[in-house]
Symmetry: C2
Subunit: 149 residues, 2 copies
Amino acid sequence: MEVADFGLNDVERIGLQLVVYVNNDYYCAKELILFPHQTCPEHRHPPVGERPGKMETFRCRWGKVYLYVPGEPSPKIHAKIPKGREKYFTARHEIVLKPGDQYTIPPNTLHWFQAGPKGAVVSEFSTTSTDEHDVFTDPEIKRITKIIE
Amino acid sequence: MEVADFGLNDVERIGLQLVVYVNNDYYCAKELILFPHQTCPEHRHPPVGERPGKMETFRCRWGKVYLYVPGEPSPKIHAKIPKGREKYFTARHEIVLKPGDQYTIPPNTLHWFQAGPKGAVVSEFSTTSTDEHDVFTDPEIKRITKIIE
């Protein structure tokens, strides 16, 4: 189990718990576990060498997830944007994922997500993960992780 | 839900039920559901064009799976090999997967598997699936599938 606090030391609000099942040169599979209203902050996966950037499919397994991508801003969004950091959440087109729903994020596309009021479990299927290359909108964020055995 | 009977019309013994979540140019994720002692027959995923052949990770979620790959034959194997077809199950190195266990099959490597006495649910994470290129040991097998809505 990995806990990502994104260097903000505010993990219950901005953070993510992950179990990485496999991450090889071709594909990656993880389970993401989120507390109620816990947020994975806005980022994109840029090209790395000759690769086009990580492409990922989120499939909600339990709870509810509010996912935001570029496009027409949704009139009302369900996520509670972390106070004081509103300007670092620029994508405002909302997709709501309930168990059995999924959505694929193309490479190099800004996105962020937040769990609903009961939290969420989300399977992530993707190309290779290279977290150190992720580009976050919030300049304070560093992709620091803690390992819990 | 897809049902593969491999053209043998004996699906309860040799067959597989699948739910494909995603299958794009880079990665694929499926859930495999097997009846008690139902068998996925021996096959390999050869190179396709410039691709090295499908690589796949099986992760057992429920039940038990007996997986067979090339290598030192196991002294006793747990699977019941379908009668009359023994010679088409050549890989006899056994790996037993219980919930939470997983195993990755390299490209172009023979493998077959059978569910334990209660059946099994297995997540498959892999590179792109192109079932029509699969090479089966049993010459009677055709990768014909039925679609059930």
